[in-house]
Symmetry: C2
Subunit: 284 residues, 2 copies
């Protein structure tokens, strides 16, 4: 098992893709910021089930971090990441340096409206501009047939879908279910910041969301239930709660009971910010 | 001479492009807003000299007009335009309806910095957002190898180059010289708004710019010369002058004497706004 081909430049990536296209091979992509865990690996397995070749980009994108955020301490472990790609059978790792992605004089941004409104944007105002711009670039650099994103970052998944539809980027966006530990905690690179006590609190996030979601699906008032969920998170040991919100699936417009919904939350555990979301079943 | 194939939808356009790609043909594109004149035709001839097939889009893009601008009265003459495409030998006309380009729920924009700063942007603040967004879409819809833009809209040419470089859009941008009438007036769809008296005044625009450019290249102070040019335009009969400015070629940063430059102007003749630009030769 030789491990993936490593492309550090767009030119090298494109040469490899061109070669695959000449052979008539289908290509899937999984954009990541590295620090790969079981959640990422599940996206890659999904990608490999849909295409002959899988490209994984590993790039900690500076433009989606605010100056106050954890860009510098975000976990970087390229050697270990490459081993995991080899285990799953990924054929290409795209690991560009920041100056390869944003050369001197770079001056363009992609701004997506619609599902980017509210939720994460209320707390990280430029986050989705950073995501949309780098995803546009990665897609146009690699030109895959499809790309797999985790439902863990549900708002991001909706924004990327809107982006591709609006700009006619010919990449099919596939959403894949969140991978969780045995206690329901969503896999996240930021879990690495937590000690045992923190993990025990973190595991309450999904539990609280599932309870509230079941109550709302069962007929309870969403305003009341999200307020109760917020209180339950603080009781469980979260330091503060950015939001708990019921939204319509896909558009992320305010939830209406006749449609499928999503209950989304972000909360702080010490200096670590965790997000999660669960489905709200349509009322029958 | 059968005239061009007409695609009204992105799906039809892509089907035709896919067929050409299967045959190994090269494709060039000329984005236009219709009302085609000799300037446009020269871009198409340039495109056909570079590729086996030429796609011309004819789309009056609403997002690059401000509410106060001439969207409604902008000249539309599709039948005549299609005849001209047939004369030049263009193979495909892409003539989408506004709702094909901007379907319900559309919510994304592309914002280019760098050369979009100042000049047109000072007077049409959202113009280049509209241009950059529609050009991105057209390029990703048609996926040409190259696209030809006129130097007449010099700032637009610089912005489109920056856009493609920044977002990794794999389309080569070709700039083509401005086509002028026998009196130096740059061909423009907006010339159709002018009567004989207006045309006589309009023809002074290029003359004034050439004089100022020669003076600057010869060592005169650019501030003084652009002020004199502004005065000369008003004297010639222009109602007002939005700008006359000396800039560095390509970047459109302030002009420095050791580099090649561009002298750009926009001025009003009654209710018609005209733009033009000329080279400033590097001082030797």
């Amino acid at each position: 098992m030789g491990g993936p081909h490593i492309s550090r430049t767009v030119a090298d990536l494109r040469a490899q893709v061109k070669d695959w296209r000449r052979q008539g091979l289908g290509i899937a992509m999984v954009p990541t910021m590295g620090a790969l865990h079981e959640g990422h690996l599940s996206l890659m397995r999904e990608a490999l089930s849909r295409a002959d070749r899988c490209i994984v980009s590993i790039f900690v994108n500076p433009t989606q971090f605010a100056p106050t955020e954890d860009l510098d301490k975000y976990p970087r472990q390229l050697e270990r990441d490459l081993e995991r790609l080899a285990e799953v059978g990924v054929q290409l790792a795209f690991t560009p340096a920041p100056e390869e992605v944003y050369p001197k004089g770079f001056a363009t941004k992609v701004v997506v409206g619609g599902p980017s409104a509210g939720l994460e944007t209320d707390f990280r105002p430029h986050f989705f501009e950073g995501v949309a711009t780098v995803v546009t670039k990665l897609f146009l650099q690699a030109a895959p047939d499809c790309a797999v994103f985790g439902e863990k970052d549900y708002q991001q998944l909706c924004v990327v879908r809107q982006l591709c539809r609006d700009l006619d980027i010919p990449v099919e966006i596939v959403g894949a279910p969140t991978v969780r530990d045995g206690h329901g905690l969503a896999m996240s690179s930021r879990n690495a910041y937590l000690d045992e006590t923190g993990l025990a609190v973190a595991r309450q996030l999904n539990k609280v969301l599932r309870n509230a979601s079941a109550a709302i699906a069962g007929g309870a008032d969403p305003e009341t239930e999200t307020a109760k969920a917020r209180e339950a998170l603080l009781q469980a040991g979260f330091r503060s709660v950015d939001y708990v919100a019921a939204r319509e699936s896909g558009t992320l417009a305010p939830w209406r009971e006749e449609t499928e919904g999503r209950l989304l939350a972000a909360a702080w555990l010490g200096t670590t910010r965790l997000i999660d979301n669960v489905e709200i079943a349509a009322r029958t």
